[in-house]
Amino acid sequence: MNYTRSRGKEGCVMRLFLKYRYLTLMLVPSALIILVHSYLPMFGVFIAFKNINYIDGIWGSPWVGTDNFNFLFTSGSLWRITRNTVLYSLVFMIVNLLLSVGIAVAINELRGRLLAKGYQSFIIMPHFLSMVVVSYLVYAFLHPEHGLINAFVLEGLGKDPVYWYTEKSFWPYILVLVNAWKGIGIGAVIYIAAIAGIDPEYYEAAVIDGASKWKQLLHITLPSIQPVIIIMTILSMGSIFSADFGLFYQVPLDSGALYPVTDVVDTYVYRALMKMNDIGMSSAAALVQAVVGFIMVLATNATVRRINREQALF
């Protein structure tokens, strides 16, 4: 690595800077935008340690130490929301990864490019629906009286209707399903792009060597898109302690009976603070999520680094 070597020599710093000035110049505009949009507001982290009132304003309000964090950690449901959040994040991550990669690989292999193109545009459709609309759609299936499942499927089978919104045992599956339905299309697009970047000569060589499709998949396709898979995984580790609010709040229609399986950090904080009007407490919750995400990413990255230095994010 160039950089490490040259860093020792003092005189090199300037020369190095000059040598790469155009590259630096290229990323300066974007870096400035990141600075303004993301870094400037970061000073707001201190709000989590203050008891804000409007007379003293944000700067003058008194410091309260970690008081704002108490409500998170004294909560009787702490274990429940932590478990739900982390488990769902992990399951979503794995399910969506497998399905997206599977779809990307399969689409790439299909005969009939036109059809493949068609499938691709169809499976991305759910991504465009807002969670509110999705919640109506799910409701159309699960309505106790004229929902499609109760009215057609179960009645057709001669079974008793299921009161979906008060029966919590089904919801882990429903949520995973809805999340996958909404997310795999866009995930697949990323992997299709990655596969498209693979040099076709590899495959040509493989065919000449008589490698089967399966072998090609294992030895060419997957290894080639592995960096993308790893990066996507590291990135989703960062949000392991956050959840898609719309999915957990809108889709189960905020039904209390389902909380044991639908309550996650984001919904808990929202419900607890909605009426409370306290930015200190909500900042505290956000900070905890960020710190956990940060640690998770560093840990994952360190693990990846240990296995294969080249593929770590940094």
Binding site: L27, I34, G112, K117, S121, F122, P200, E204, V228
Partner: protein, 303 residues
């Protein structure tokens, strides 16, 4: 030049192909039918929905949802104009800026790449929260009620930049850059003449993501825009939907003022708004995809 192996020689056998096609047809149906259902519901008579719920074959069709939305067509047209312009400008600017950032940090010889990668990456994990962002935007930058407040937040999506970086890393061979440099090309020339043309697939993908982001964004409009004529379409649609939800959860308020509920849009109207909101992007998507596939083919013939 090695003799090309045609695609046909390396494609899968007939049986698995059929199975895969069947699976994809089912999957596509699962994804399309709900969207079709939304569309049908938007054309369904309100009473039919109340009595029978959603149905692919409603008892009675009705155009009332659309006529009542387009009664105020000035507003809808204005919303479309803002959304379309914002999406076009935003997507172009965003793809260029992100590529400009992603390329240097993809170069293994660039000395500051670790710093700038982390500089970017760190923002994915920490943010100052809504209040401080609002402060910076409105008071430091003076962006209240400005289109720039809608443009800026979505210009650089760290996640997408990192995907781009990876794409550059895996597809642009360092030797290619090295040989260009020996030919006397400068960094900028290399980037625009060699790197970008080779990266069309990822550029198209990011373009699509940006389009979706800008088109669907309503939250920034909620925060920063006050003038009715500056609102993008999604915000106008979203506002009606969330007002419905708000009144539903504030039963007391609604009970005290029955009039508040009276003009509330029913579900067919809400679905019509969803259709109006997502319609254009569903129309644009195939175009993008065409480009996207073109990008794929370019990727395939290189070498």
């Amino acid at each position: 030049m090695s003799s090309r192996v045609s695609r046909r020689d390396n494609s899968i056998a007939m049986l698995p192909n059929t199975i895969l096609h069947t699976l994809f047809v089912l999957l596509s149906l699962a994804c399309v039918l709900p969207v079709v259902l939304v569309t049908i519901v938007s054309f369904t008579d309100g009473d039919s929905i109340l009595n029978k719920g959603y149905s692919f074959f409603p008892e009675k069709f009705s155009l009332i949802a659309y006529t009542s939305i387009f009664k105020d067509y000035g507003m809808i047209l204005g919303g479309y104009t803002v959304s379309i312009l914002l999406t076009i400008v935003g997507t172009v600017a965003s793809v260029i800026l992100m590529a400009l950032y992603a390329y240097p940090i993809s170069r293994s010889d660039y000395p500051y790449r670790n710093f700038f990668t982390f500089f970017l990456f760190f923002t994915m994990l920490f943010n100052g929260g809504l209040v401080s962002r609002y402060l910076v935007y409105t008071q430091l930058l003076g962006l209240r009620d400005s289109y720039i407040a809608l443009l800026l937040p979505l210009l650089i999506i760290p996640f997408n930049v990192i995907i781009m970086r990876t794409f550059f890393q895996t597809t642009i061979h360092p030797a290619l850059i090295e040989s260009a440099r020996i030919d006397g090309a400068g960094e900028l020339r290399i980037f625009f003449r060699i790197v970008l043309p080779l990266s069309l697939p990822v550029l198209a993908t990011m373009g699509l993501f940006s389009t979706i982001n800008y088109w669907n964004d309503w939250f920034n409009a909620l925060l920063f825009i006050n003038s009715e004529h500056k609102y993008p379409l999604q915000y106008l649609m979203m506002r009606v939907l969330s007002d419905v939800q708000f009144l539903r959860s504030n039963v007391e308020l609604a009970a005290q003022n029955p009039e508040l509920l009276r003009n509330l849009p029913n579900e067919s109207l809400q679905m019509a708004m969803a259709v109006i909101g997502m319609g254009p992007i569903l129309l644009v998507y195939p175009f993008f995809q065409k480009y996207f596939v073109k990008g794929l083919t370019i990727g395939a013939v290189k070498g």
